[in-house]
Each structure stands twice: as C-alpha cells, then as structure tokens.
Amino acid sequence: MTPLNKHQSYFAAIGHRFSGVLLSLFLPVHFLLLGTALEGEANFDRYLAFADNPLVKFAEWGLVILLSLHLFFGLRVLMLEFTSWPATKHLGKGENPMIRRWSSWVIPSVIASAFIGVIFLVQSF
C-alpha cells in the first residue's frame, strides 16, 4: 500500500510530536544540571563552562528551535480546537477555510523558529 500522501498539517503534527518528545527528554537533564548549583557557585560555573562548549551550544541552539517550533505548532492545535469554525458545509467551495488557514501557518512557523535560532546564534557569539 502506498502511504498516505503527506500534507502540511501532517508535518506540523509530526514536528510538534518530535519537538515535544525531545524537549521532554532534555528538560530533566537541564533541571538536574541547574540543580547542581545547589552545591555552590563553583559547580554551577563548571556547568556553564561546559555549556560554552561549541557542541553543547549547538545542542542548546537546537533546543531553542525545538521549543519555539513546539510553541508555534502547539498554538496551531489550540487555535484549531478552541476558536470557532466558519459555517462548515461548503458544497463545491473547495477546501475548508479553517483547515486552509492553519495549514498556511505551518511554513511561517518553521521560518519563525529558524529565525529565533539565528538570533540565538548571533546573541551567543
């Protein structure tokens, strides 16, 4: 069987899911490392030095992008679910306007997230 033809809102859903899962994996680690500050400023600075490592920076950069992506896609879901739909029976009038509107939200979301990533990079170097 050929798989379902993928469409923008499918990519939004998958993007939302991957970003959510990755965030969930990262966040406890982030919390634990932050928590090491309990053992004093020295520890904390060591953590921050570690965080200055380009590789780690790169990872953080990725996470900022994931967070903003998840935010935009999450807002998309919330808008679809909790704002009102136009009169829904459009015989002969083509794709549902609500679906169209929030599909066209997908690419700008990706661009905006990339943009936030760029700012992050510019800011941190």
């Binding site: 899962v21 500050a37 400023e41 904390f44 992050f120």
Partner: protein, 108 residues
C-alpha cells in the same frame, strides 16, 4: 482520573505554558548575549519572588503537560500495554517535578 481530565489538563497546561515559554525564550536571548556566568544568573534570580514564582509555575505546568503528551506518543507508537504506559508517565511526572523544583530551589 478519566481521559477527559487528562485531556483537559494537557490543554490547560499548554495554554498556561505558552506565555511562560515566550518569556523564557526572551530571557534566554538576553541572557546569552554576553556569555553566561553563574553570578549573573544567580544575581538575577536569587531572592526574586517573581522569578521564583515564574519557574515554579513553569515546572508544575511542564510536569503535567509533558507526561500526558508522552503518554499519547507511547500509546500510539509503541506496543507497551496501557497500565505500563500510565506507570511510566506517572514516574516521568515525578522526575519532572522533583528535578525541576530542586533546580528552582537552587537558583532562587
């Protein structure tokens, strides 16, 4: 707890998280500008009830939001049985909450 409550909690926490995440992103942007130092961060946060409250809220919301999200993912994409998925997610929520609150305590 019924499915409808889990669903409601996840959406409510999402609505809550949205502004928090926006703020957090802004703070990161400003903070990273000159390279981070412990002193700076701690100066900003220590003894500050606003940031204290902010991060507690963040941690609590995420501890609700993320495990419920992961629960859906595991139910749909893995063959792990229902009860085990629930146990995993409760465990996750506890981890999120403990580690998160410990971190908040550390920086406040």
């Amino acid at each position: 707890m019924k499915e409808r409550h889990l669903f409601l909690l996840q959406r409510l926490s999402a609505i809550f998280l949205a502004p928090l995440v926006v703020l957090h992103l802004v703070v990161i942007m400003i903070a990273v500008r000159n390279g981070l130092s412990a002193e700076e961060i701690l100066n900003r946060t220590q003894g500050n009830y606003f940031w204290g409250g902010f991060y507690v809220l963040f941690v609590v919301s995420v501890s609700i939001h993320a495990p419920i999200g992961i629960r859906n993912v595991l139910r749909e994409w893995t063959a792990i049985p229902k009860t085990q998925v629930n146990q995993i997610c409760i465990f996750l929520a506890v981890i999120f909450l403990m580690s998160g609150l410990r971190a908040v305590a550390a920086v406040i």
